[in-house]
Each structure stands twice: as structure tokens, then as C-alpha cells.
């Protein structure tokens, strides 16, 4: 692949160009990014799961740059509020759901204790959750729990896109701005792009985040999936003080409201179902929930369609061109990152016959399905009984794989694993337990632990969590240290 073109704008195009440039410019690959100018929507923020922190190392993006230039704050999880009706909230933290002991996952012992009347929630045994709720982050030295605490980011989308664009320039990516271009196809491939000024751009491989290239080869290959909400209002409010370490997703009669803490502002996303709430009424509904009016952009559509095949001929559709991501759980950046990383790994060998396309499409379809399952569980497990939007959401069909996962967890606190899983077991456990699923039975091997020994171990773990939290740094200290 001597010549590669990235076609599109915003975060997706910049991230793809940067990843490819850093991986293959060393081998003489010429990377041209035709920047079609799409920028993130006004007010938009991104929830980056911990996986992105690892990916940033490959991209050469350090935490100081994010804190300085992308309004970044630390993301230790997502809080879900009101999904069971009432005020109940739980935290999906990125970490271990308790520490395993007696050779069994913690959730087995927890299930047994719940059946015996224990009132303590699973997340109370999770160091990451306890720390996030108390405004503490980082890794404790000499940890008492030995639990993993993983951190992602909250990012200002427009500023993050700019940061990635600047990194592209440093990585010798040639950037050409062009809002319209003509595509020349030959058979099942793209041969050439002709820019608005008539300049031709040839390439062996085209990476399309815009959508026009892949659509020219594969016009009708998108399908809708249940998206629950079809409209979104983005807004901003003053920053919280102190800055939370997690975003909050509050259920609403017509959808949900996400609050994402950034340095300098709180980003707001209000997603709603236009059958339940009209565009005319939505801004007022948002102001009611917030108890004040905020700086708001007009309602915009929320896309829900995806392509069956992301890689067609010599075009790889990435990010929005491959399909809309599920609207929660940081799925947008997660899928973008996985799509780009997989493409870098499967970098085609032969420009004439890209056997890699089939592998890539299988991998990405599987990953997309599993990521969609993770988000779909929130809707399937919601307990806002009697509200039409939520009653519909609860009965919307789910994949066979998600049905097995929910059934097995509800029966035994275990996990049905499939290929292409993108979330770890403990994330599933924290979310399903958070939505109110307490397993009906547990692994009988748990009974080898005596009742008294179990209580002692639980107390030990709760003390260890408390002492580890105490040894961690505050969010503001962490950001100051990272800023350098």
C-alpha cells in the first residue's frame, strides 16, 4: 500500500489518518487526508473508555496534551440514575467487581451472601466505584485490594478533533481541505478521487469516514437497528465543582439525559424519542430536568443505521461511515478505535486482492454486535414500569447472545462469552447487578467457605477498599499532575 487516502472530517478521519501515518509512514506509505470539513456538533463531548488510553500511546497522544488542549477530565465510569424508576442510581466503574477468593469470582460469594440477607451492593466491593464516588483516582501504592482501577477520559469533541489534526501534521500526514469531490469507480474498486479544483488523487486504499466513498461501491447496504431515541439536543452548563470522575446518565420519560464533566463546562446530551416528546417541547423538558435553562443547540437527528460490510473493495468505512454507534457506554469511541486498530493489524498485503476485507468484516460485525448488546442491556433491564417509552424499550427484541448472557447471569451469576467481546465480565456484572439483577443461585463450590469466614472476608474487602481509596489522589490533583 504505497498510497492511502483518508476521506472525511472530524475525530474519526483524524484518528484514522494519525494511526495509519504512525504505523506505516515508516514503511514509505504516503498518507493523504482529504478533510471534508465535518466538525463535531456544537457542545459535543466524548466519553472515552479505558481502552482509548492504551490506544493513545500508539497514537503518540499524551495525557498532558489532553488535559491542556481537549478539556479532558478523568473518566472512571458511568452512573445510571433512575433506570429502575425512583432515585436509585448505580455506577458502572471500570474495575474489578470485588476481589476473587477461594478460587471463585467474587460475584459468586456475593450472590450467596445476598441470599442470606446481605444488603451491601456489588459496587461497594469495587475499588474503582468507591474511589470514583469519593472523588479519588489513580492507583494506590501498596494496594490492599489488588483490584484493577482503569481510567478513560471525558473529552471536548471539537477540541479533541483539533488536537488529533495537529498530531497528524506532525506525523507527516498530508492534509488537503476539500468539501466536495468526485469519485471514479472501476468495478468494485475506487480508482481515483477528483477534488473540487480538478486535482486527481489516486490511492491503493481509501479509508472513508465520510460515507460517500463506500456508498459509491455499496449503495444500499445499511440497516436500521433499534435505537430507542431518534433526536438529540446538545447543550452546555457550568462545570461541576468538584469535578466528578464519572458521567451521569439519567433516565427520562422520553429518553435519557447524559451529563459529561469537562474542565470548564458540563456537556449535556438529551436524547429523546420524537414519538414521545416533540422537538418543540424538548428544550423546555430539558430545562425542567436541569432546573434551569442552559446554552442549547437546536434538536438534531440521532442516527441508528449501520453497514453490513465496512470494507468493500479497496474502501474501508470507519467511524460514522461504518455506522452509527450505540448511544451509550462510550461506544462511539470504542468502536472507532477498534475499527481503526483492526484495520492497522490487517493492513492489506496485496493491493489487487484484499483477502483482509472478509476477515475485517467478520471481526467488526462481531464486535459491533457485542458492543450493541452491552448498551441494549440497559433498555432490556429497565424497570420504569408503566411509562410507554420504557415499556417499549424493555420488550424490544434483543440478540440471542444477549438473551443468553442475561439468562445465565440471572440464573447463576456467570457469563456466557462469545467471540468479539469488547467488555470485561466485571463490567457486565456491575451493570446487570446495578439494574437490579441478583442471581438466583450460585456455584456450589462457594459453599466450601464457612459462613463466618465469608463474613470476615467481606469485612476485610470493604476495609481494604476504604483504605485504598484513602491513599488515592483527588481528581483535581490528578489533573494538575497530568497537566505537568
Amino acid at each position: 500500500m504505497q498510497r492511502v487516502v483518508v476521506f472525511g472530517g472530524g475525530v474519526a478521519a483524524a484518528m484514522a489518518a494519525l494511526a495509519v501515518g504512525r504505523a506505516y509512514a515508516r514503511l514509505g506509505t504516503d498518507v493523504t487526508w482529504i478533510d471534508t470539513g465535518e466538525a463535531p456538533a456544537p457542545h459535543a463531548a466524548l466519553i472515552a473508555p479505558p481502552d482509548l488510553a492504551t490506544f493513545h500511546r500508539l497514537l503518540g497522544i499524551d495525557e498532558a496534551a489532553l488535559v491542556r488542549h481537549a478539556a479532558a477530565t478523568v473518566n472512571m465510569g458511568q452512573q445510571f440514575a433512575g433506570w429502575s424508576g425512583g432515585d436509585h442510581a448505580f455506577l458502572h466503574a471500570y474495575g474489578d467487581a470485588g476481589s476473587p477468593f477461594a478460587s471463585l469470582p467474587f460475584v459468586q460469594h456475593w450472590t450467596r451472601a445476598r441470599q442470606a440477607g446481605l444488603g451491601v451492593a456489588l459496587e461497594d466491593f469495587c475499588l474503582a466505584a468507591a474511589a470514583a464516588k469519593q472523588g479519588r483516582t489513580g492507583a494506590p501504592r501498596e494496594a490492599a485490594t489488588r483490584q484493577a482501577v482503569k481510567q478513560g477520559w471525558h473529552l471536548d469533541a471539537a477540541r479533541y478533533a483539533k488536537l488529533l489534526r495537529a498530531a497528524c501534521k506532525r506525523a507527516d500526514v498530508r492534509i488537503v481541505s476539500c468539501t466536495s469531490a468526485a469519485v471514479r469507480t472501476g468495478g468494485d474498486r475506487i480508482g481515483r478521487i477528483v477534488l473540487a479544483d480538478g486535482a486527481p488523487v489516486d490511492a491503493d486504499l481509501f479509508i472513508d469516514t465520510h460515507g460517500a466513498l463506500v456508498a459509491s461501491l455499496d449503495p444500499d447496504a445499511t440497516s436500521e437497528r433499534p435505537g430507542f431515541c431518534d433526536r438529540i439536543i446538545r447543550a452546555s452548563a457550568p462545570a461541576f465543582d468538584p469535578l466528578p470522575l464519572y458521567s451521569r446518565v439519567a433516565a427520562h420519560a422520553a429518553g435519557w439525559l447524559t451529563l459529561i464533566p469537562l474542565s470548564g463546562r458540563t456537556a449535556i446530551e438529551f436524547a429523546y424519542d420524537s414519538k414521545t416528546l416533540s422537538d418543540a417541547d424538548a428544550p423546555a423538558a430539558l430545562a425542567t430536568v436541569l432546573g434551569r435553562s442552559v446554552d442549547t443547540a437546536p434538536p438534531a437527528p440521532l442516527a441508528n443505521s449501520a453497514r453490513a460490510r465496512a470494507w468493500v473493495g479497496n474502501v474501508v468505512a470507519v467511524g460514522p461511515a461504518a455506522g452509527a454507534a450505540p448511544p451509550l457506554d462510550g461506544a462511539e469511541l470504542l468502536l472507532l478505535q477498534l475499527g481503526i486498530a483492526q484495520m492497522v493489524l490487517l493492513w492489506p498485503i496485496d493491493r489487487a486482492a484484499m483477502v483482509e476485507a472478509d476477515i475485517y468484516n467478520e471481526e467488526l460485525a462481531g464486535t459491533r454486535a457485542r458492543v450493541a448488546d452491552f448498551t441494549a442491556q440497559h433498555f432490556r433491564l429497565n424497570a420504569r414500569i408503566g411509562e410507554p417509552f420504557w415499556d417499549d424499550a424493555r420488550t424490544t427484541p434483543i440478540s440471542a447472545e444477549l438473551a443468553s448472557k442475561i439468562d445465565l447471569f440471572a440464573a447463576r451469576g456467570m457469563f456466557a462469552h462469545f467471540n468479539h467481546e469488547a467488555h470485561v465480565e466485571d463490567s457486565w456484572a456491575l451493570v446487570m447487578a446495578g439494574h437490579g439483577v441478583t442471581p438466583r443461585s450460585f456455584d456450589p463450590q462457594a459453599l466450601l467457605t464457612e459462613d463466618q469466614a465469608l463474613m470476615t472476608e467481606f469485612q476485610r474487602q470493604l476495609r481494604a477498599v476504604a483504605s485504598d481509596v484513602h491513599a488515592m489522589e483527588t481528581h483535581v490533583d490528578a489533573l494538575r499532575r497530568m497537566r505537568g
Binding site: L27, L346, W347, V355, A416, D443, P444, Q445, L447
Partner: protein
């Protein structure tokens, strides 16, 4: 919970006693009563058995002492399987219990090897694997603890007498409260309404009732197949061997820390070295050779005097459509059969036991999610092994009628495409559950002559000289380390010598 949950294991071969021992170790006797029904009239299918490294995990899970276990079962060590005549007549390679190479740069080791191999600057892949180099010199030592030492980079399994293993576990399990019931089963009683197994009736008239039954009755699959009518999913169109002859021979001087599988006209021959004898067998397709001719071939290809007449076994490749139906779990031969080409029999029993323990119902009314998950994960295990076995068959010269047929079969969907993708760029799908990760596929592909035409492009980032230097250093480090090890025979004699049987 009121009375104890009653678990009845039917059949006392390797599968039955492994299951009983695991129950003794891991189920609370206050809540579970576990009985095993077996008859001394019924023989078990105990031949010299080769295993996988997971067996050590199982023994550790029980808490067995390795030395005591090895002495009791005439066990020797196993670092992999040598395949002779597979691919082409005269070829040989080892499928090891370990990975190839060590990290060199951003790409995986195998990609660097492809690159250097295509440039003509690499040694054979197998020279970059410590357990292979060691095995070929008939040396052995337990892995050292230091992760930076190449002598830590492998796992090991055992060759053992499966009959003695069952006997050893019987003593172990009975000492820990498992009740053994002697008797031949003459009738299986089912609940009229649910169809569940209610009890087995013995020739003596005794009823052994239970809440849940484990069928370890071998090929006849008394409960799962005969009583509950769970059919076999027939895989013999992919794996046509349907017979075997087994014979022990005296221990030979060539005391290998590996199993040997030699491809023959109508199938393949195994060789499994135990401490005081060698287990041998010929697995064949009865459409391609007569029993007498197979026996003669086997006896003509021993490296020691035969100690008995060859014994014939019949089977069909496949698995039961559900391994858990009603209140009955089938394991071992009662649940399915795959030829022992990759030593997977005991592994499959072990997986069934581990999954059954974690999914054991807590009351008589079984939550349907439990058997559903059990069957799903066991299907994954069987499918993965099946595809890997088929790969051994298809990647061969078509040099005899059997081999003409198997190299031209329609592959299962899950295998089709894998071979083409490997040839294109050495791509192997990695999966989370089930046996045989990328190093195993690499070994068999390369060993049987399927070589990639290109490597991951990331492997091109390092200069060729750097790659060649690192490859050469690694091969030298492995060769030097291997030379420090004692012989397999000496190590066994010192570590775990078994008395002559």
C-alpha cells in the same frame, strides 16, 4: 435446602472417577451426596493415554501430589506430539506445548519468522521453540520459575495408564466420602411426567435414585443415549476412521518425552511411552484396511516386543446433540468421541466436569439457563477440536485411497477459509474459549507444508539485519539451554520412579 442433593455417577472408568474425585474435592458433603455405580464385570477402555497440559491443572485443582500420582499411573512427561509422515511421506514435526519464539518488535514472532523464512535467512520454525528442541534430544526438566529464562516457556502433560489413573482416583475419592455402589445396571427408571432419570436398578434389585445423573458409561451411553434418546451428531464424513487396534510393547531405549503419531495408508499409529511399557495403536478406516491387516501393520511397526495380542475398538466420530439433557450430563465416551490424534479425550472430560460443577443445580427443578450454557460451551470445545483434527487430515499428500478422499472433502464452515487466510498472510483467528490457540495452528500448518505467502506489514519495520540477529540469538539461547537439561529417563528415575507393574 432440605435433604441432600443426590448426584449419581454411572460408570467407573477414567471419566467416572475423575468426576467423582472432583465432586469429593469441591462439593460440600452436607449439601451433596455423591455415589458412583460401577460393575467389576464391565471392563473399561483403558489404553496408554496421552494428555494435555490442562490435566496438570485438574490434578492441582484436586490437590494431588504430582510425584505420587506419576508413580501410581506409570506416568512419563509429555512436551508435545511428533507427527511423522504427515504432510508428506518422510516429513516430521512436533506440535509443542509452548509458543514459538519470543517478542522481537511490534509484530508477533511468527510474522518475523515468515519474513525471514521467505528471505531464506530463518532456521526451521521448530528451532525457535524450547520444548521442541528439548523433546527431540529426549531431555526433560520442570519449567523454571523465572519468566526471562527460555526454560520457563513451556507447559507439559503426561503419558499415563488411564486404568491406573481411574484406580488411583477411586482410592482418593472413596477416602473423601464418595460412595461406590457395586453392581450391574439392568434397568433405568424415568419419572413419568418429566422424563427425568429417577433411578438405576441393579442386578441385585437395589435401586439407586438421584436428583441428577452423570453418564460415564462409555460408548453405550446408557442414560443419555439409550434412555433419553439423545442422538449422536455424526462427524464420520469428516473424520472417517472408525476402528483402532491397541497393543502394549516393552519399553524401548528411545524414551521420548513426547507422543508420536505416524501417518499410515489407512489411518495413523500412536506411540505413548510409559515408565515400564509403551502403548501403541493403529487408528484406521475399516473401509480401507481389514482388521487382520491393520493388526499386522501395527505389530510390524513396534519398537519393542508386543506384550499382548492387539485389541480391537470400534467408534464413530461425533458428539451427542446435547451433553446435558433432562437431569443427565454425559461425559467421556458417553458424550462423544474424537480420535486421540491430539490427545483430547481426558481434556474433554475435565472440561465437562469443571463446567458441571459451576453449573450444578441447587434444586431438583433445573433452571434451563444452566444446561443451556453447559451445552453451548461443550459444543464450542468439540467444534474447535473437530476442526483442528480435520486440518491434520486435509493437509496431506493424496497418496492412498483414504488420503485421496479426506483431502477432497467439503470442510465445515468454521474451518473453510482458515487455510486460505493462513496461506495469504499467516492469519489465525484467536478465540477466547476452547482448545488450540495460534501456536498450535502454526505448528500444524507449517509442519504439514502450508506456508504463508506474506507476513503482517508491521514485521517489516525492523531492519532485516536486526531481525536476523535476534532470530539467531534466540535459536542459540534455546539450543544452549536445552543442553543443560537431564535426559527424560534420568529425570523420571530420580523424580517419580514407578515400581514395575
Amino acid at each position: 435446602m432440605g435433604d441432600r442433593f443426590e448426584l449419581v455417577i454411572v460408570g467407573g472408568g477414567t471419566a467416572g472417577w475423575m468426576c467423582a474425585a472432583a465432586c469429593a474435592a469441591k462439593l460440600d458433603p452436607v449439601r451433596f451426596r455423591v455415589r458412583l455405580v460401577e460393575s467389576e464385570e464391565i471392563g473399561t477402555v483403558g489404553v496408554g493415554e496421552a494428555t494435555l497440559p490442562q490435566m496438570k491443572d485438574f490434578n492441582d485443582f484436586l490437590g494431588l501430589d504430582e510425584v505420587e500420582f506419576m508413580k501410581a499411573t506409570q506416568a512419563s512427561f509429555k512436551l508435545g506430539i511428533e507427527f511423522v509422515n504427515w504432510g508428506c511421506e518422510g516429513d516430521r514435526y512436533i506440535h509443542p506445548f509452548g509458543t514459538f519464539g519470543r517478542p522481537i518488535g511490534e509484530a508477533d514472532f511468527f510474522s518475523y519468522w515468515i519474513r525471514a523464512n521467505r528471505a531464506g535467512t530463518a532456521a526451521p520454525l521448530f528451532d525457535y521453540c524450547f520444548p521442541i528442541v528439548t523433546a527431540l534430544q529426549n531431555r526433560f526438566m520442570l519449567p523454571v520459575g523465572d519468566g526471562n529464562d527460555v526454560r520457563s516457556a513451556f507447559a507439559y502433560a503426561y503419558h499415563l495408564d488411564a486404568f491406573l489413573y481411574a484406580r488411583y482416583l477411586r482410592g482418593w475419592a472413596e477416602a473423601r466420602g464418595i460412595e461406590r455402589v457395586e453392581g450391574r445396571i439392568v434397568e433405568v427408571e424415568q419419572d413419568n411426567e418429566s422424563g427425568d432419570i429417577a433411578a438405576v436398578k441393579l442386578a441385585s434389585g437395589t435401586h439407586v435414585a438421584g436428583d441428577m445423573f452423570v453418564d460415564c458409561s462409555g460408548f453405550r451411553s446408557l442414560l443419555l443415549g439409550q434412555t433419553l434418546g439423545v442422538e449422536i451428531e455424526d462427524w464420520s464424513h469428516w473424520l472417517p476412521c472408525d476402528s483402532a487396534q491397541a497393543v502394549p510393547s516393552v519399553r524401548s531405549a528411545d524414551f521420548t518425552p513426547y507422543t508420536r503419531s505416524t501417518r499410515r495408508t489407512a489411518g495413523w499409529q500412536w506411540r505413548i511411552p510409559l515408565q515400564h511399557r509403551t502403548g501403541n495403536g493403529y487408528v484406521y478406516s475399516s473401509a480401507d484396511i481389514s482388521d487382520d491387516e491393520a493388526a499386522a501393520t501395527l505389530l510390524a511397526n513396534l519398537d519393542g516386543e508386543a506384550l499382548a495380542d492387539p485389541r480391537v475398538l470400534r467408534f464413530k466420530a461425533g458428539k451427542r446433540e446435547q451433553a446435558w439433557a433432562k437431569n443427565c450430563v454425559g461425559m467421556g465416551l458417553a458424550g462423544g468421541f474424537l480420535e486421540p490424534l491430539e490427545s483430547t479425550s481426558i481434556y474433554l472430560v475435565q472440561m465437562a466436569i469443571m463446567h458441571m460443577l459451576t453449573l450444578m443445580p441447587s434444586e431438583r427443578a433445573t433452571d434451563p439457563a444452566l444446561p443451556s450454557e453447559f451445552n453451548r460451551v461443550m459444543d464450542v470445545e468439540y467444534d474447535r477440536i473437530r476442526d483442528f483434527l480435520i486440518l491434520h487430515y486435509v493437509a496431506n499428500e493424496a497418496d492412498a485411497p483414504l488420503w485421496e478422499r479426506v483431502t477432497a472433502i467439503d470442510l465445515p464452515d468454521t474451518l473453510a477459509g482458515k487455510i486460505e487466510r493462513f496461506r495469504h498472510r499467516g492469519y489465525i483467528e484467536a478465540y477466547r474459549d476452547g482448545l488450540f490457540g495460534p501456536p498450535s495452528w502454526q505448528a500444524v500448518f507449517v509442519g504439514q507444508g502450508v506456508e504463508p505467502a506474506a507476513a503482517d506489514r508491521l514485521a517489516d519495520v525492523l531492519p532485516a539485519a536486526t531481525v536476523n540477529e535476534r532470530l539467531a540469538n534466540l535459536a542459540a539461547t534455546i539450543a544452549d539451554a536445552a543442553a543443560t537439561l537431564p535426559s527424560h529417563a534420568d529425570f523420571i528415575a530420580r523424580y517419580c520412579p514407578a515400581p514395575a507393574p
